[in-house]
Every structure is written in structure tokens, then in C-alpha cells.
């Protein structure tokens, strides 16, 4: 069933950005905390060495590996956040759907992990370019994820699938059956209402699992 768009709210957009940055900042803080502690351990080790204790090269190696691992993790997190932040550089842009969804998933994966819900993504077999707002698409997908996470039990799965179907690019989000009222579907349609961009279609199919589809005209 499709609905006419009714306008996306600024507050929803701000809450979306807040949720993403809260999750990311939590992860970054974990990275910093670990590097801080390894730095402290190194300091302890050096103090011991100055007092005459032999240096254990194996332990030093382990410390170096922890720092390297967390630094790589931190770099990845910042890169993903930066990519997300630039999603609003232009109100309307041509962008690649697989990359936009991958970016969002990288930023919110931890929210699903905290609930012990598996988040799986099947990407389209080829690149899918659309003209719209990458930020709005990410926001719409996020709202779907958020809704599923509210009721998905631990051990369940939320699946994202990106496909090129004829002249459309489609992002489908499916998860445990949920009841979505008209207000929620209108809200989602409103998020995808982007001025000067071809209109997107939102459809919802129920059953044992609920599937929400966001279809946008593709550009090849």
C-alpha cells in the first residue's frame, strides 16, 4: 500500500542525527579509553624497566597490536561519520544507494548489537545511482531499523536488501512482524519527500515478517 507524502519533520531529522552521533561518540570513547589504558600500561612497564625489571617483548608487542587495532577502528569510525556528515552538502544529489546504505549500517550496527539483533545487508549486484537526498534515504532506513529494533527479540534478524528493479532502485527493510499505523507510514513517506527530486514510493507488506520498501527512480 502506498501513501501520499505528507512532509518530513525537522525534529525527526535532528533526532536521527542525534541517535547516530550518540552511538558513534560512544564507540569512539571506547576506542579512546582503550588507547588511554594501553598508554597507561606502557607507562607502568617503562617505570618497571627503569626500576630494573626486564622488558617483556611479547607484552610490548601485544600493547602495540592493541593500539594499532583500536587506531584502525577509530579511523574507520571517523571516516564513516565524515561520509555521513557530508550527506547534507547538497539538498539533492546523485548518489550510489549501496554506498549510502553501507554507510548508515556502519554507524548504527552497534545499536542492533546491543539488542543482540542481527543486521544483515544484501547489496545490489551492480551500482545503483539515484537523484535524491542521501541523508533522507539514510534517515528513512534508520526509522525502519529503529521501529524493528523496538520489538525485535534477541537473536532475531533485520534484513536490508538493495536491488535494481527495472528503472527503480529499491531498499527493502524486513524484520519481525510489526504493526505500522498510517501516521508512521506517512512520516516515512514525508522523510523521502525531497524537493526537486523524483518522488520515492514507500510500500509496506505484512505477514510473518514485515517488509518496508523504499523505491526511487534509478539513473544508469
Amino acid at each position: 500500500m502506498t501513501r501520499e507524502p505528507s512532509g518530513g519533520g525537522e525534529l525527526d531529522a535532528l533526532k536521527f542525527v542525534g541517535a547516530v552521533t550518540a552511538s558513534v561518540s560512544h564507540e569512539l570513547n571506547n576506542v579512546i579509553t582503550i588507547i588511554d589504558q594501553v598508554g597507561g600500561l606502557l607507562q607502568d612497564t617503562l617505570a618497571g624497566a627503569r626500576a630494573g625489571a626486564p622488558l617483556d617483548m611479547g607484552r610490548l608487542q601485544s600493547m602495540q597490536e592493541r593500539i594499532a587495532r583500536q587506531t584502525r577502528r577509530g579511523i574507520e569510525i571517523v571516516k564513516n561519520l565524515n561520509r555521513f556528515a557530508h550527506g547534507v552538502d547538497e539538498p539533492v544529489a546523485q548518489f550510489e544507494v549501496n554506498a549510502a546504505v553501507a554507510n548508515l549500517v556502519s554507524l548504527v550496527q552497534r545499536l542492533a548489537e546491543l539488542k543482540k539483533v542481527r543486521l544483515s545487508v544484501r547489496y545490489a549486484g551492480r551500482e545503483a545511482y539515484v537523484t535524491s537526498s542521501p541523508f533522507r534515504l539514510q534517515q528513512a532506513v534508520f526509522h525502519c531499523l529503529e521501529r524493528f529494533l523496538q520489538c525485535a527479540p534477541p537473536g532475531s534478524e533485520i534484513a536490508l536488501a538493495i536491488a535494481c528493479e527495472g528503472s527503480s532502485a529499491c531498499v527493502a527493510v524486513s524484520g519481525p512482524a510489526l504493526s505500522a499505523d498510517e501516521d508512521w507510514r506517512d512520516r516515512l513517506a514525508g522523510v523521502m519527500q525531497v524537493a526537486h527530486a523524483p518522488p520515492a514510493r514507500i510500500s509496506l507488506a505484512g505477514g510473518e515478517r514485515t517488509e518496508i520498501r523504499i523505491e526511487m527512480p534509478a539513473r544508469h
Binding site: L41, R69, P154
Partner: protein
Amino acid sequence: MTALRVLLVDDEKDFTDTLAERMAARGLQADVCADGAEALELARSKTYDAVVLDLAMPGMDGIATLKGLLANNPDLQVILLTGRATLQQGLEAIKSGAMEFLTKPPDIDRLIEKISEARTKRERLTEQRIEKTLSEILRTKGW
């Protein structure tokens, strides 16, 4: 005095491993685990002066783990660690029975100070419990 015994609970393995090493260098005995369920099992089988517990963990979060730990052992002292330092969270943690609420990254010396306080507090609570039990026994016997 025996070494302070602590259980570190956090899903970030690099964090718990590093913290455990730093504590060992300072004479503490630290066990580590990655989730609430494992923490409950370990706390049932071993005696700890304190549990240092991350608030945000997959599955059973810090508050749920805290409640489970205290249900099994009301005298156990739990120090919650979090990246977020909101007053509301701090109050909820204390209301749920946590001894202390610290932010990440923790200062190791302050953390060890709190673990030492935890031992004193736990021993005092255990003594009070024993005294109360003894008094009740004596009272029932009419002494």
C-alpha cells in the same frame, strides 16, 4: 592482607585485558569477562571485593547485570563504568544498588581506591549480617 580481588565486565576485550594487566602490576587479582551472563556465573562461584561493570553491553546491560549480581549477593560492591556521564544515569545506577558510578576512561588509581573502599564496605556489611544472625539466634534461645 590478601590481594584485592576484582571482576572486570566489559564487551571490549582490549579494555578488560589491559585494565587487568595494570591491576595485576599493582598487586590486584583481576578476572575478566565479556557479558552479564558470564559475570553472574563467575560471581556465584568466586568471592570478589568489587565488580567493575560496563553500563552498555550487548544483551544483558549493566543495570540488569547489576540487579542480577546483587540478587545473588546483596553485599557485593559494584562499580559502574560508562561513557555517558548524565546525572540521571548516575542516580539510576545508585538507586539500583551500585556503589559508585565512574566515567570512561577511568583513572586507574581512583578506580583502585574505590575497589579498596569496596572491600571495606563489603566486610562491614558481612560483619553486620553475621552479628544480626547471631543476635536472632540468641534471642530465639532466650539468652
